[in-house]
C-alpha cells in the first residue's frame, strides 16, 4: 500500500458514492440498535427499492444524541431525524429530494453548535465495517505519511507539541510517555490499547471502537512506529461483543490492505495487533493489572517503579494508552501538533468526549473543547435537567472521581480544574444528578463498587473499602454516629495515601467530595435520622447483620 494507492481507494469510494442520489445514514450504536435500528434499516432499503430511488443506505456508529434515537441522517441535505420507527421509512424515502418530514425532524443546533469533533469526526458518517469508508475520510493517510516522510522521533515530537494528555483519566502527557518508551532499550517492545472501559456510566471508548475502529488501529500503528514496537494488543471488555467484532474485522481488513503486517508501505516497519478479552475486573484499567491480565494472570497491580515504559508486558518496554488517546493520534499527525494545541485550555489541550447521562434532557456522547464551562455542557448541550427538577451535582471520573455541586457550574472543564475541586477528569463519564438523588447514597454506591472491584492485594483497599461501606451503610440506615463520621474521614486519609494502586488511592474521592459539598446531607442522616432526598429508607432499616464472607 502506498499513498497513491490510498488516494485511489478514496477516489473510487467517492465515485461509488456519487452514483447514488442520496445517502441515508442509520445509527447502529447500542442505544439506537436496542430500539430497532436494524429493522428500520431494512425498511428503508425496502422503501427505496419500492419507490425506485437510488439511495445509499449506510450503517454508522454513534451520532451523539442517543436520547433522540433511533437516529437517521440524510445527506447531502444534512437532515437529522429523531425517534424514527420502521413505519417512518416510507415517508423518509418519499421526502428525498423534496421537503424533509417535519414531524421527525430533529433540531438540536444548540446541542451540536458548541461541540468540536476530532475523535468523533467520522462518527455517524462512515460504515465501521468498511475500511474503504475510513480511507475515504483521510484514513491511514497519517500513518503512511509518517512512515514515508517522518522519523519516529518526529512523530513523538509532534505528539509532544500537541500537548495531548492521556484520556484514560490520569492525564499524563502522552508525548512524554512515548518518548520514554522510545528511549527504552531492547529489541522487543509492545504497544497496548486499554479498551477495558470500566467506569460505570462511561461509554465513549465503546462507541469509538464500535463506530470507528480503524482510527484506533491507525493510532496504535503510529505509536508503534514512534516508539519502535512491532506488536500490539487491544484489551477490550468481554462485555462489549460488538466492539470486539468490529475490531476483529478492522484488523483483518487492515492486514488485507497491507496496513498491518510486515513491511508496511514498502518500508521496514512491521506491526500487527492482537485482541485480548477482559473478563470483568475494573482494576484491569490500571496499567500493571492490565498487563498481568494480558499475560493470563490475576489482574493485580504491581508497585511502580518499574514503570511499564521500562519493564511492562512480558518484562519488555510497553506503551499503554487508552482508546480515546489513540483516537486523537491520526488527526494530530495529519494536521500538526500546533493545530491540536490551539484547541482547549492552558494545560489541557484539544477536545474531550463525554458520555452525558443521568438526569439530563439530551443524553449521549458529546465532544467539547477542553476548558468549556460545565454550565454550557449541562444547560446548552445537554438541555438541562428535565421534568421540572433542579440540578444538584455533576459526577465526573467514575468511582475515582467526585461530585461537583450545582453552584460550581461555571467551572471550566480541564484536568487541573477538576482535580482542584476534588474530582478528576477520568475517562469521561458525566452523570447528572438532580434533587431526587441522595449524595450519601451515591457515595455508598461508589464505595460498594470499589469494594467489589478491589483486587484484594493490599490491605488498605481490601479491608478499607469494606469498612467504609459498612460505615456508609450505617449512615444511610440512620444508625451512624458523628464519631463514626470522623472515623470514616480518618479511614479515607489512610486508604488514599497507603493503597498500592490508583483504584485504592482514589476510592475515597466520592466520599470526600460529597462530604466537602454536601456535609449537611450526612448530618441530616446521622442527627435527624432523615434522608433529605427521600432515597434512603431509614424507618425500614433492619439491625446490622455481619457481612457474609465467602467461606
Amino acid at each position: 500500500m502506498t499513498i497513491e494507492e490510498l488516494e485511489q481507494i478514496a477516489q473510487s469510494v467517492s465515485q461509488e458514492n456519487a452514483k447514488f442520489d442520496f445517502e441515508v445514514n442509520v445509527c447502529m450504536d447500542l442505544a439506537c440498535a436496542s430500539q430497532g435500528a436494524e429493522k428500520l434499516r431494512d425498511a428503508l432499503v425496502k422503501s427505496a427499492e419500492a419507490q425506485g430511488k437510488n439511495v445509499l443506505i449506510r450503517r454508522t456508529g454513534c451520532m451523539g444524541p442517543c436520547s433522540s434515537g433511533p437516529l437517521v441522517r440524510v445527506d447531502p441535505d444534512d437532515v437529522l431525524y429523531k425517534r424514527v420507527k420502521s413505519d417512518n421509512a416510507e415517508a423518509i424515502v418519499s421526502s428525498l429530494g423534496g421537503e424533509p418530514v417535519p414531524e421527525l425532524q430533529c433540531d438540536l443546533s444548540d446541542h451540536f453548535d458548541k461541540q468540536v469533533r476530532v475523535v468523533l469526526e467520522n462518527a455517524g458518517h462512515i460504515d465501521p465495517e468498511k475500511i474503504d469508508d475510513y480511507i475515504a475520510h483521510d484514513g491511514y493517510k497519517a500513518l503512511l505519511t509518517a512512515l514515508t516522510e517522518m522519523t519516529p522521533n518526529g512523530v513523538v515530537h509532534r505528539i509532544t507539541e500537541s500537548g495531548l494528555r492521556g484520556r484514560g483519566g490520569g492525564g499524563y502527557p502522552t508525548g512524554l510517555k512515548w518518548g520514554t518508551v522510545a528511549k527504552a532499550g531492547g529489541d522487543m517492545k509492545y504497544v497496548v490499547c486499554n479498551g477495558d472501559e470500566g467506569d460505570p456510566g462511561a461509554f465513549m471508548d465503546r462507541s469509538v471502537m464500535e463506530g470507528d475502529p480503524h482510527r484506533v488501529i491507525e493510532g496504535m500503528a503510529l505509536a508503534a512506529y514512534a516508539v519502535g514496537a512491532s506488536k500490539g494488543f487491544i484489551y477490550v471488555r468481554a462485555e462489549y461483543p460488538v466492539a470486539v467484532a468490529r475490531l476483529t474485522t478492522g484488523i483483518r481488513e487492515a492486514r488485507r490492505r497491507g496496513l498491518l503486517g510486515t513491511g508496511i508501505c514498502g518500508t521496514t516497519f512491521s506491526f500487527d495487533i492482537e485482541i485480548r478479552l477482559g473478563a470483568g475486573a475494573f482494576v484491569c484499567g490500571e496499567e500493571t493489572a492490565l498487563l498481568a491480565s494480558i499475560e493470563g494472570k490475576r489482574g493485580t497491580p504491581k508497585p511502580r517503579p518499574p514503570y511499564p515504559a521500562v519493564s511492562g508486558l512480558f518484562g519488555k518496554p510497553t506503551l499503554i494508552n487508552n482508546v480515546e488517546t489513540y483516537a486523537n493520534i491520526a488527526p494530530i499527525v495529519r494536521n500538526g501538533g500546533k493545530w491540536f494545541a490551539n484547541m482547549g485550555s492552558d494545560r489541557s489541550k484539544g477536545t474531550k468526549v463525554f458520555a452525558l447521562t443521568g438526569k439530563i434532557t439530551h443524553t449521549g456522547l458529546v465532544e467539547v473543547p477542553m476548558g468549556i464551562k460545565l454550565r454550557e455542557i449541562i444547560e446548552v448541550i445537554g438541555g438541562g435537567v428535565p421534568d421540572g427538577h433542579t440540578l444538584k451535582a455533576v459526577q465526573t471520573g467514575g468511582p475515582s472521581g467526585g461530585c461537583i455541586p450545582a453552584e460550581m457550574l461555571d467551572l471550566g472543564v480541564s484536568y487541573d480544574a477538576l482535580m482542584k475541586v476534588g474530582s478528576i477528569m477520568g475517562s469521561g463519564g458525566m452523570i447528572v444528578m438532580d434533587d431526587t438523588s441522595c449524595m450519601v447514597n451515591v457515595a455508598r454506591f461508589f464505595i460498594e463498587f470499589c469494594m467489589t472491584e478491589s483486587c484484594g492485594k493490599c490491605i488498605p483497599c481490601r479491608a478499607g473499602t469494606a469498612q467504609m461501606h459498612t460505615l456508609l451503610t450505617r449512615i444511610c440506615e440512620g444508625r451512624g454516629t458523628m464519631e463514626e463520621l470522623d472515623l470514616l474521614v480518618d479511614l479515607c486519609g489512610t486508604i488514599k495515601e497507603t493503597s498500592l494502586c490508583g483504584l485504592g488511592q482514589t476510592a475515597p474521592n466520592p466520599v470526600l467530595s460529597t462530604l466537602k459539598y454536601f456535609k449537611n446531607e450526612y448530618i441530616e442522616h446521622i442527627v435527624n435520622k432523615r434522608c433529605p432526598a427521600g432515597v434512603c429508607n431509614i424507618e425500614a432499616a433492619v439491625p446490622a447483620v455481619p457481612t457474609e464472607v465467602l467461606a
Binding site: A238, E239, R298, G429
Partner: protein, 165 residues
C-alpha cells in the same frame, strides 16, 4: 528434561476440540490461560473443575493459579447458567435512575439473590457493572438483548413469559 505431553481431551465432546484450538493457536503458552477460559465458557456456558484442570494441565499452569484466575474475574462462572438470563445493569447512570429497585423487584419475583439461578434452572439473575448503554438507563438485558428505559412492569412481564415456557 522430558518433552511435555499435553493431557488427552476430557471426552469426545467436539467442544473440547475448539478449546484445544485456542490453546494451539497460542502455542500452548501460559499467557493463553484467560483466552482459553473464555473459549471454555463460550462453548460450555461455564467452567467446572474438569475444564479448569484440563486447561491448566495443557498450559502447564498450576491448578491453584488457574482457579485463582477463574475466581478473580467476574465474567467467569463456575455454575451452569439458567435457560434464560436476565441481566440488570447497575452502572452509575442506571443506578441514578432506579436500577436498585429493578434488581430488588427481580429478586423478589424469582426468590433468589442476584448472581443465582432459580432452582428449576430456568432463569439466572445477573447484575452487570455497566453495559455502556447509559444514555437509555435503566437498562436490562434479556438473554443478552439490550432493552432501555426499563420499568418494573416490563421486566416482570419478561420474567412471566420465561416462567410459563
Amino acid at each position: 528434561m522430558s518433552a511435555f505431553t499435553p493431557p488427552p481431551l476430557p471426552s469426545d465432546d467436539k467442544r473440547w476440540k475448539i478449546v484445544n484450538g485456542t490453546m494451539r493457536k497460542n502455542g500452548f503458552a501460559r499467557h493463553a490461560l484467560i483466552e482459553t477460559l473464555h473459549t471454555v465458557q463460550s462453548s460450555f456456558g461455564y467452567l467446572d473443575d474438569d475444564a479448569i484442570t484440563f486447561v491448566a494441565r495443557s498450559l502447564r499452569v498450576p491448578l491453584s493459579q488457574a482457579y485463582g484466575v477463574v475466581t478473580f474475574y467476574h465474567y467467569f462462572s463456575l455454575k451452569p447458567p439458567g435457560k434464560h438470563t436476565l441481566t440488570v445493569c447497575a452502572g452509575t447512570a442506571c443506578y441514578i435512575k432506579g436500577a436498585d429497585k429493578l434488581i430488588a423487584t427481580a429478586e423478589k419475583r424469582l426468590g433468589i439473590p442476584q448472581g443465582q439461578t432459580t432452582s428449576d434452572g430456568k432463569i439466572s439473575l445477573m447484575v452487570a457493572r455497566c453495559v455502556g448503554a447509559c444514555s437509555r438507563a435503566p437498562v436490562a438485558l434479556s438473554d443478552g438483548e439490550v432493552a432501555g428505559e426499563m420499568t418494573g412492569e416490563q421486566m416482570l412481564e419478561q420474567l412471566e413469559r420465561w416462567a410459563v415456557e
